[in-house]
Amino acid sequence: MTTPMPSLAVSACTATSALGHGLDTHRQALEQGRSGLRPNDISQAPLPCWIGRVDGVEDEPLPAALADWDCRNNRLAWLGLRQDGFLDRVHAARTRYGADRIALLLGTSTASIGATEEGYRRLDASGHLPDDLRRRAIHSPHSLTDFVAAALALEGPCLTVSTACSSSAKVFASAERMIRLGLVDAAVVGGVDTLCDSVLFGFGSLELISAEPCRPFDEARNGISIGEAAGFALLERADAAPQAPRLLGWGESSDAHHMSTPHPEGLGAELAIREALARAGLEPTQVDYINLHGTASHKNDTMEANLLARLFPTTTRASSTKGFTGHTLGAAGIIEAVIALLAIEGGLIPGNLGARAPDPACSASFAWHAAHQRVAVAMSNSFGFGGNNACLVFGQAQVSR
């Protein structure tokens, strides 16, 4: 029996994706319905598809002291950390609580495997990784979090969650547990994933990639567009930032169904949603906006549209924002959590960009275009390979439960 949890303040957050660097570019793109997708210009061999690529990642070398971690994924992390004054906010928290009283919990699906891929393309004459890439730090799924711990000088509990596309949603749950038990006073959560051949050709091999920009919840949708992103948030006890928006609840579950397709009736997804609402102490009718997982894969969107219609009234508005950013995989949880927070802050329901003719399973909840209304409570769904589900609930500081 899940009981309500004390809410946490989300006292700072930031996002960098194909929409741009920092929160302002995201606000503007969501208002204007401007997609960040472009034709694939990053895979090493041709692959006809659209991608959500972040501009300028290659131009952002790491500080010399952190050069051991240099690779494209950590460059994106570094770019993301420097937006919206986030570094300063973490520095202030470090001063207030102490470096060992702040947890660092990040999600990623492939971390810096792009650097390992490059090493294999440039093997030396004896078949070894080339000298410049013989760095253990970057050939590990913990590369991202290890780098960010050094960059932020944090010395508390530090771990990477890697549960595919739910990774950077689940870190909010881990952080809440650690803060509630008093292991730490605050947590930096988030996630980073970069475009690389593994995911482009991997999802391609599963025939899950669309040749055109993805069309979530369109009746003729034909696959995902992959994106890359970095996002971070600072979580503290509510009394530390009384005016900040809140993390109200989280839910986690497993489908126990299939490694690469969701449960057709959304059994695990529903468990995660119900658990998140119970932990938030809210009824479905109190949810104003849901940022859907909405990948534009045939199976996910059918399952999720049916689930939405079954569990929520049509006064709950909902959309997928994958048409803006692409599916940013291990970073999707944090990017869409930030979009949910922007919805609360600005009273903005993002439109479900990319769909032309709605799937008949879609209820009147769907926001096909951006709309302005008060958003007191916003939810974000993240469902990953292996049937790994997470759901987060955020709210205004003064939301009544």
């Binding site: 390992t116 050939h139 590990s140 913990h142 771990l159 991997g202 490694m259």
Partner: protein
Amino acid sequence: MNALSVYVEGLGVWSSTLADIDALRARRAGAPPATPVERPPASRLSAGERRRASASVLLAVEVAGQAVAMSGRAADTLACVFASAYGDLAITDYLCATLARTPDELSPTRFHHSVHNAPAGYWTIATDCHAPSSAICAGHATAGAGLLEAATLACAGQQPVLLVCSDIAGHGPLGEVVACHHDFGGGLVLSPILGPGSRARLALTLARTSCTPSSPPIDCTSGMSDNPSAALLPLLESLLDATGHVTLAAARGLALHARVEPMA
């Protein structure tokens, strides 16, 4: 820092010369090393799943199955944390080698096996478990960070939790850099409350220190010290004795002290 208290209800272990906890107990009592075996039986998987599963999945499912069987708990309601420093190094080697030559020929099965949560996915499918499952890593501190995450999940959720720490040996050019030469997996079932299945109490405290983690006993597991998951082995040994004090790295500069106390 604050302490967490959990009760250990089940243990599991596997390496090529340690088939299970009984084998570890026997080795500590002076039995000769067993003849190495190639693959763990992973009997919780169906025959079809066992055929499809990768080496990292077989290893993780094996120790998970052992620990849950000893606990007497039903696997289908048990939240689980699967920790692995490297994930499936053999599949990463395959992926990178294939992408460098013939990316269009990438195997879709190997690709979906490449996710870090493949063991969690296979385990929850095999046991029909809808409880939360996670897959984590923390470099050299993976075992300690995994234990901390699992104990936190148990205490915060007031629920029993399965922890698996497992890493397989590296392959190819990546394997050279990673330098992990032996498969090792360890598993625990933790409960926040004392019950009939409690075998020992674990008191966990975090300390900011440049800790010296407890080393695996060399005679049981020669060459195992390069496997980050083997950091769990000294704790498994203390749990067999139901007494002792073990230190694991939990993060850079953060130690997790585990005091093992017998049941009254």
